[in-house]
Symmetry: C2
Amino acid sequence: MNAEQNKKVILTGDRPTGQLHLGHYVGSLANRVALQDEYNQFILLADIQALTDNYENPQKVRDNAYQVLLDYLAVGIDPHKSTIFLQSQIPQIAELTVLFMNLVTLSRLKRNPTVKAEMALRGFDESVPVGFLVYPVSQAADITIFKADLVPVGEDQAPMIEQTNELVRSFNRIYGPILKETTALIPKTGGRLIGTDGKAKMSKSLGNTIFLNESSDSLAKKVKGMYTDPTHLKVEDPGKIEGNTVFTYLDIFDPDTAEVTRLKEHYMRGGLGDSIVKKRLLDVLENFIAPIRTRRAELAQNMDYIENIAREGTLKARAVASQTMLEIRRGVKIDYFD
Amino acid sequence: MNAEQNKKVILTGDRPTGQLHLGHYVGSLANRVALQDEYNQFILLADIQALTDNYENPQKVRDNAYQVLLDYLAVGIDPHKSTIFLQSQIPQIAELTVLFMNLVTLSRLKRNPTVKAEMALRGFDESVPVGFLVYPVSQAADITIFKADLVPVGEDQAPMIEQTNELVRSFNRIYGPILKETTALIPKTGGRLIGTDGKAKMSKSLGNTIFLNESSDSLAKKVKGMYTDPTHLKVEDPGKIEGNTVFTYLDIFDPDTAEVTRLKEHYMRGGLGDSIVKKRLLDVLENFIAPIRTRRAELAQNMDYIENIAREGTLKARAVASQTMLEIRRGVKIDYFD
């Protein structure tokens, strides 16, 4: 416990709206596995945030919460090292959200570039659900209730961290030095994985994903259909590597980098067919996914164990949130019966 | 307990931002005293709502919470009949507020006439603090977490009830028949008391109040300075009753209606000086306020007792809110460990 207290705190998580895929692995899961020894890592199953744009479909969010948790464990997130918990079970987040809402103006929220981009994406204007508009405030509450030192984010999420720290500074100025400013942890490796169709982002809504528990058959079909170099029509033609999804994936997942370099040279020279490179990628991805798939299937046999991990993580997270809330209540002078 | 369950539920309350005055008595307190036998009445010390426009001054809100509670008890609100509680101590209200925010659009909130009027009053536009803009949503959570059948409001507050019921209908359509629509209870008697200066409303910010614990000296000064008929310069002149604050107050507070009628006739005829009428009003108000002032001073001797009333009421309110929240969590499919 003492060692844990000396570790820096990370807050991270996912909206449980679907099973996780290779894009999640590259973008965040691999980093979480790598960071969990060195940091006190809290991983939020952000079901309340998922409801902000899935409020009509609570069953979808519910169904996916434990599926995401299975994905976490299958890729090697260790519940003894990382605290995995359900946002909906931490009422202190809602309490802090309500207090934070007094410290931010409507115009400031609308100016948040991430909110702006996501509103444009969904075609929202003034008809935006208030919960959606306000989600950066809830996110600030997620982060600060756990006094997170670091939040791993993509570069496009930097404005969210800025908004959080603005709220922290306003809060502390008025109510005393209670909350902690946080820092964006922009991973050195990883980042955004392109989709199987070559589009900028692997995403369920674009239908260009490979799931972490993709079956062998389905994986074979997906790799076969992957985007390569559309001008590489005959085997003997020289092919392009840049923007070629198959080589992008090999660079990430193939441990034999020398062989990948050799294949690239051959492909650029001409004389190497797509089907050969795809066969290699299929082997590489099958080797990567097979143990995840097996572990996931084993874990899914015992959903009581999974539920128990969520429960234990939630209790631990709630204890931390309660402690911060005690300090908040004292600062806001609403510590009546504490 | 059973009898109580058969009673209809009323939800009412005040923002604790200052001591209560005769305007509060006429507008709401008298009705609360009258209604507490027949109804299961919840009275909210709305400290979280008070923070939406006093967030820079939490100590002011804190200082006033128990002062308002003292006023309640002094005018005859009975804590054994009415449940008096602190909003900040009911986290379920914040939880429901967050869920409700998904069910209302920004444009709908901005269209709320009460919000519009209050924003205009404070000179807010897009720079409105989000918490202030969102307060009708929090208010809807206050009302519905207690499944209130009735909410006593002035006519200008009717749009708030409409907004609440819209949220209830949306919520129930998506998550099942959990919440209850409410009804505005617009009091037959009472309503808005004009200020001592003749302005439309008695209000601390206008400096035209008579507090419920006004001292005799101060009361005398305030009555002496009251607005009458500015054209009634000489005693022998005929005077006007309409808009004459002193007669308005006599109509409300003087139990001897025959004598008030006689005084009015004399005043209109001419020959009755303001000072005589004011002397009568002073006697009437002193008779009204003296027992309140005495009871309040006695109660203030024992702040432990006052705190205990707040604690007991809060525990009772929290039990009701918890029960509703259980049902809400089941509906929203976030009943993980219940």
